[in-house]
């Protein structure tokens, strides 16, 4: 049985639908990500689970209990906000202890200490939020939510205000803590890379609907439509009419074809060892080369449209700007949408 069930949840403001018949099921301990552009409804869905927004239709269940109409404090969910929402008048210790104090728990001190230890904030107990760095504030917010031992942890873009390096290390740490506590987590982000690294399951949202769900590799390698293909990777999405013309073939049917930039290969014109059995070949000219960290991205202009081709950057530039090339397109990597 699923641990978290979101059953046909619908919500609208005035005459605009924000959540359109959303159904999601999560297993206990799963790390799920709601991924989408801003305005797609992902944060609203998260806030609905927290009880900070009402839903118009549908039910939300956690651990078999219908929480749809419960107040936030009765739901046993923890949440970390994008802007942390730490209490500025309280120290780190008091921030983390706040929920336990409200609940009138007995062993507050030891539980808070344990949490402080877990998020690596020893020595900062008496600091105030404004004396901490962004990353440290984030840890406090996380500890404050986790110390309550919530059934579900909700994370609303918790890392998006941090710089890249701290972000990467916090991603890892968040994942470690999540696994260690085996806590069911729903993470909201607009960053597909972050979603890929962290999630067990990704729900791609667009215009208030879940358009695709699956493991990161499923989502990445077999997008169901153009939106997912474009949003998830830097897929080359090409009109099939155009593509047929380029590869001079009529054997493929559909509307559009999506091809990942890293499955394409470039071969200099003149080399004649082309495997035409497995690949289509498109003629083109290198228009631009850009370096994205360890990846070299070639923009190749063809007769009809431009293609992006990614190479791992291990031997320096292999092709110069303006060079004429053949693009090898592996037939089995073409995804027909």
């Amino acid at each position: 049985m699923s641990y978290v069930t979101i059953d046909q949840v619908t919500k609208g403001y005035e005459n605009q639908v924000v959540l359109n018949d959303i159904s999601i099921k999560l297993k206990k301990g799963e790390f799920a990500t709601l991924l989408g552009q801003s305005g797609c409804g992902k944060s609203t869905l998260l806030r609905s689970i927290a009880g900070l927004e009402d839903v118009d239709l549908g039910r939300i269940l956690i651990d078999g209990k219908d929480i749809t109409n419960l107040s936030p404090r009765q739901r046993e969910v923890g949440m970390v906000f994008q802007s942390y929402a730490l209490f500025p008048n309280m120290s780190v210790f008091d921030n983390i202890a706040y929920g336990l104090k409200m609940k009138k728990v007995k062993d507050i001190k030891s539980r808070v200490k344990k949490m402080i230890d877990m998020v690596d904030l020893i020595g900062k107990e008496e600091s105030y939020p404004h004396q901490l760095s962004g990353g440290q504030q984030q840890r406090v917010a996380l500890a404050r939510a986790l110390v309550m031992e919530p059934k579900v942890l909700l994370l609303d873009e918790p890392l998006s205000a941090l710089d890249a390096k701290i972000r990467k290390s916090l991603q890892k740490e968040l994942k470690r803590i999540q696994k260690e506590l085996d806590i069911t987590t729903i993470f909201v982000t607009h960053d597909q890379e972050e979603a890929m690294t962290m999630s067990d399951r990704i729900f791609v949202m667009n215009k208030g609907q879940v358009v695709q769900s699956g493991s990161p590799s499923e989502i990445y390698t077999s997008p169901v439509n153009t939106f997912v293909a474009k949003f998830i990777g830097n897929y080359n999405v090409c009109d099939l009419e155009v593509f047929r013309k380029l590869v001079r073939s009529t054997e493929i049917k559909g509307n559009e074809v999506a091809i990942r930039p890293e499955v394409l290969q470039l071969v200099s014109v003149g080399q004649d060892s082309l495997d035409l059995q497995e690949n289509w070949v498109i003629k083109g000219v290198i228009k631009d080369v850009s370096m994205i960290g360890n990846v070299l991205r070639y923009e190749v202009e063809t007769e009809e449209s431009a293609f992006l081709v990614d190479y791992l950057h291990h031997r320096g530039n292999m092709f110069e700007q303006g060079e004429r090339v053949h693009i090898l397109v592996p037939k089995k990597e073409c995804i027909i949408l």
């Binding site: 900070l52 404090r73 008048n89 210790f93 929920g99 409200m102």
Partner: protein
Amino acid sequence: MKSSLTIHKVIVGLLVIYLLIPLVGTFLFSIAGKWDHTILPESYTMKWYIELFQDERFYDAFQRTLFLIVMTVGLSVVIMIPTIFIITVYFSKWEGLLQAAAMLPYGIPPIVGAVGLIKIYSDGPIQIAGTPWILIGAYFITILPFMYQGIRNSLRTVNAVQLVNAAELLGATKFQAFRTVVFPNITSGILVSTLLSVALLFSEFAFANLLVGGRFETLQIYLADKLNSSGHLTSAIVITYYSVILLLTGAVLKLTFRNEKKPVVSNKKRILSFHKNTTLEGEK
């Protein structure tokens, strides 16, 4: 770079002089004996102050003004903080209405307001025209814009909505959330509005004169009365109540400043008391 800094200093200096001259002039006049054809007084005397401090009426007027201010500002704090909090956090669509209501006093001149108030409250169920209570009501409205802006801005600055959300998710009731995480963070903002209101009400004359006049002599009415007898004496009154406001403001600001400057100490105390509480609870 250096010359531009000098220009800044000169401008600031001129501004300070411009603002201080009337005050210094008033002060000098309040301690002046003979002063008619010289730049500075020819002789100095404390007799105006002595005369003022020997006048029972002055103390009575001062007391009445203080009473009005404390009542009005107290009432405003007690009523407006919860109101504005509830509206901003839970009924944000009505915020425009509240804002419009709070800005109304700017649109109505005291004379028009006073005439209307006297008409309404001289008969009917609430007959308070001519009593200090009508003045408190009118003052409540007078300071509404300051109180509203101050409280609302503080709530926005601390992102009260999100703090309440966070507290509620951690198991606090709405009231607990307000008391423990919102209120402590907006006190300095409220304090500023309160001080502004106090200063404003100290020098309020129009409403006091029109609504109660001589029946409940406030400081400003006393001042106006003395204006006919001696300019020196009125200067002494003005300087006296300026000093009182200054002392009051200074004291309050110093208190808050000290609180903000030493959070670690107060924090230590809080943690200690907090630990004590928990161990006691544990022992039970």
